[in-house]
């Protein structure tokens, strides 16, 4: 695999963006819209390193990915739901790789990297399939149906018959689809990370110390869990909440950080 250099600087080919390159948020927005989702972005990051997917360096990719996510959050958060799920998955993989591994077998199942690699390969496969599909000659682009004027006089082309019931069924379907469409929107808005943060904070203000699992609401599904998790991380980062785990693999608790005297 060989990629073209990104630019030439003083005659020297530059094939990697400088790590500290500043990307203006607006440019990033446009840039992210060019991606079809977290897998597409990941695939891009892997390809940019000019390495085989199989040799993916999870730690490095995770960092780059997180950098994008952070920039995204600064900009348009609604875009991020699926990106966040991936962020959580990457973080998990990274942590598991860093942890000492138990010696016992099961290595294929246990290697968290394999799942990611499989997904990337699978996605890449269909990404290519879509490109191939797009290259097939198709009607009204490379191909045009040949037609000649049918002999006019004889032409008693019956018009399609439509029953009133067909029309009503069509209306019902349009309405049903519109409803689904609206529900979809509402759902997306129900789990707002900002709300989640204040929700977590409110509960901790009341109860001071709680197991993490108490914050999770299974009714909110996977997305809810991810958003809760992110909300907790954000609160921790802002030193409002503390994560407590007394032993490895033990239950994780959250504690409200008491405002002490500022340093």
């Amino acid at each position: 695999m060989h990629t073209l250099p990104i630019a030439y600087v003083a005659g020297a080919a530059l094939d990697k963006l400088p790590a500290d390159l500043y990307i203006p948020p607006n440019a990033l927005e446009i840039y992210l819209e060019a991606f079809e989702g977290p897998l597409d972005l990941l695939l891009y990051l892997v390809k940019r390193q000019n390495i085989n997917i199989l040799e993916i360096n999870v730690a490095e990719i995770t960092e780059q990915y997180m950098a994008y996510i952070e920039l995204m959050q600064a900009g348009r958060f609604e875009l991020a739901a699926e990106y966040l799920v991936m962020a959580a998955m990457l973080a998990e993989i990274k942590s598991r790789i860093l942890l000492p591994r138990p010696e016992i077998g099961d290595e294929e199942e246990a290697d968290p990297r394999m799942q990611l690699i499989r997904r990337l390969l699978e996605y890449e496969r269909y990404k290519l399939a879509a490109e191939n599909l797009d290259e097939l000659p198709r009607l009204n682009r490379e191909l045009h149906q040949a037609r000649a004027e049918p002999p006019g006089f004889e032409r008693t082309v019956p018009q399609p018959v439509v029953e009133l019931s067909d029309l009503l069924a069509a209306m019902a379907n349009a309405l049903r689809q519109a409803e689904l469409f609206e529900h979809h929107h509402v759902q997306v808005e129900t789990i707002n990370p900002q709300d989640k943060m204040s929700q977590v904070l409110r509960r901790l203000n009341r109860e001071r110390f709680l197991p993490l699992t108490a914050m999770l609401d299974p009714r909110e599904g996977r997305l809810g869990i991810v958003v809760t998790f992110l909300a907790v991380m954000e609160l921790t980062r802002n030193a409002l909440v503390e994560i407590v785990q007394t032993e490895s693999f033990g239950p994780i608790h959250l504690r409200l950080v008491e405002k002490g005297p500022s340093p």
């Binding site: 045009h144 149906q145 040949a146 037609r147 000649a148 004027e149 049918p150 002999p151 006089f153 004889e154 032409r155 008693t156 082309v157 019956p158 018009q159 399609p160 018959v161 439509v162 029953e163 009133l164 067909d166 029309l167 009503l168 069924a169 069509a170 209306m171 019902a172 379907n173 349009a174 309405l175 049903r176 689809q177 519109a178 469409f181």
Partner: protein, 194 residues
């Protein structure tokens, strides 16, 4: 080269779905390669000759030349349409239904409910069939056309007035069952009852 020109001319006439003038034919060539009018006419004449044993003939009409199916084959060709009228797509039926219920409605109104663009072809088919007409323009940017249904639409569906359309809430109540009903039948909407 003149062989190529003839093939291109034939392709143009068979793709265009209307008669083409000599100048329209010439217009598809880049300025540097544009054939002379006389060359196009020669190609047309040669094409007309080739048609001898074929199922089509070249005909010159007011707006130019077109390839048309020979009259004597009308008997067979006509049967293509006998007894099986074409079918409308679900997109067309939904567009029609939305215009009927929300009239006057713009293309944008329909698109908003359906969540996808409404093709020009659909609107044209509905206008051609005289089931909808343009009643005016909405006073918003772009001044989009306002569509309403016609008397012919009412006639086709055996309605005396729009008031006879079943109320919307009745339809949506039924919608679950109905929608499943026609999905189970496969293709789309059984618009083609004999």
């Amino acid at each position: 080269m003149s062989q190529d020109l003839k093939a291109i001319v034939e392709a143009l006439l068979l793709a265009a779905d209307r008669a083409l003038s000599v100048d329209e034919i010439r217009a598809v060539f880049d300025a540097g390669e544009r054939p002379e009018r006389v060359a196009v006419k020669e190609a047309l004449a040669s094409l007309a000759e080739d048609c001898g044993p074929r199922g089509v003939e070249l005909k010159e009409v007011a707006s130019g030349y077109r390839l048309q199916v020979k009259r004597e084959l009308a008997e067979w060709v006509g049967r293509l349409w006998e007894e099986k009228p074409p079918r409308y797509t679900r997109a067309l039926l939904e567009t029609l239904a939305l215009i009927a219920y929300r009239q006057p409605a713009t293309r944008g109104d329909v698109e908003e409910v359906r969540g996808v663009a409404v093709s020009t072809g659909i609107i044209r088919t509905l206008l051609d069939r005289e089931w909808i007409r343009v009643a005016g323009h909405r006073d918003t940017p772009g001044r989009p056309e306002l569509f309403v249904t016609t008397r012919r639409f009412l006639d086709h569906f055996n309605l005396k007035s729009l008031a006879e359309l079943p109320p919307l809430d009745e339809i949506s109540e039924e919608s679950g069952a109905r929608a499943l009903g026609f999905e189970r039948q496969g293709e789309t909407i059984p618009a083609d009852h004999a």
